[in-house]
């Protein structure tokens, strides 16, 4: 079903126009990269605070109240430009190893954000300026920092075609994980 949806999206006139455009594509991609500074950048600053590696005299609640809106703005930018990038090459990215790893990592990052805000952050007033933050806050910062870093790296790797389904042979794991079957049949025919 998802495969059909992606195949349908792939043939939409706007999708074709986007991947064939000479100027729009690089502009969307650059915007995606430039927004990293705002989104991942301010998220990193928050993580540094949670890890106790910087801004130790700034209240955690001030960071989540006053810096987080900028992080959210950055995320909105990342999401819109990221969706457009996917919209340009739906089939190719859907079957891209790094894209799939990135989506899984995004889900992990989202769970971490959710757990932090529903968990230890509810009682932030109790530990706002503690010299040593609660363990859950430290762990949330550590997970956030490493998972977002991996998301940036895997996102960059999507552009490289080392494990592209269309370029065979690939290791069995890649063909299985990226569901290369459909793509291979379409390109080479047969089974």
């Amino acid at each position: 079903m998802i495969l059909d949806f992606v195949a349908w999206m792939n043939e939409l006139p706007w999708s074709i126009a986007l991947r064939e455009s000479r100027y729009v594509w690089p502009w969307v991609e650059s915007s995606h990269v430039m927004t990293l500074g705002l989104f991942v950048g301010t998220a990193f600053v928050t993580d540094l605070r949670l890890l106790g590696w910087s801004l130790k005299r700034v209240r955690v609640s001030e960071v989540t109240d006053r810096l987080l809106p900028w992080t959210r703005l950055g995320f909105a930018g990342m999401f819109v430009t990221g969706f457009l990038l996917f919209f340009g090459y739906p089939e190719r990215y859907y079957h891209n190893l790094f894209f799939r790893i990135k989506i899984i990592l995004l889900i992990v990052a989202a769970i971490n954000v959710f757990a932090f805000h529903r968990g230890i952050h509810k009682r932030v007033a109790e530990w706002d300026l503690d010299p040593k933050l609660p363990r859950q806050a430290f762990v949330a910062g550590a997970i956030s920092l490493s998972v977002w870093a991996l998301i940036v790296v895997t996102g960059r790797m999507i552009a490289y075609n080392w494990f592209e389904c269309a370029i065979q042979p690939q290791p069995d794991f890649v063909n299985w994980f990226a569901q290369c079957d459909g793509i291979i049949k379409e390109l080479y025919g047969g089974t």
Binding site: S30, L38, G41, V45, R66, V152, V153
Partner: protein, 161 residues
């Protein structure tokens, strides 16, 4: 019209330095170094934006500008060092391509300006910065954002040509 090629010999020499050759001949080194360069961009962007927002009277404004700037200074320096190290390796591996690349020259000229502006002009304003954001402080913050934005955007654009 033929471009001026006065310094081409130097860029050819860069391209054939040992690190240049190693990075260019490896399949995975360029992408990996590039990804680390991007992580440096994230860190630099975050630190610069956090302090610049403060200087504009936005974001973390419950402490003095100097407190925020001093706190984040090691991370600013760390990000710049990481970016320069990875950026140099990327450059050496394709120096001749860069020589003919307009975006590279935009970056090569704005980068030193951004560095001097950050570590001389902005630093002086930030270290003495209290709670209030004067016009001068705000202009410096806007200049900092604009300069780094140009450096980063030109850097991304090197890859498109």
């Amino acid at each position: 019209m033929e471009p001026e090629e006065t310094w081409l010999w130097l860029f050819e020499w860069f391209e054939y330095t040992t690190p240049g050759i190693i990075v260019r001949e490896s399949v995975w080194m360029f992408p990996v170094i590039e990804a680390v360069h991007l992580l440096g961009l994230c860190l630099l962007g975050g630190v610069v934006i956090t302090v610049d927002l403060r200087m504009l009277g936005l974001g973390l404004r419950k402490q003095t500008i100097s407190e925020l700037a001093t706190n984040l200074q090691p991370w600013l320096i760390g990000a710049v060092v990481l970016l320069l190290a990875t950026g140099t390796l990327l450059f050496l591996s394709e120096a001749v391509k860069c020589y003919y690349n307009t975006s590279f020259w935009v970056k090569a000229t704005t980068l030193p300006v951004a560095m001097i502006f950050t570590f001389v002009v902005r630093e002086r304003v930030a270290v003495n910065g209290g709670m209030d954001t004067s016009t001068k402080t705000r202009v410096v913050a806007a200049g900092s954002m604009l300069l780094w934005f140009t450096v980063a955007a030109a850097g991304r654009w090197i890859g498109f040509s």
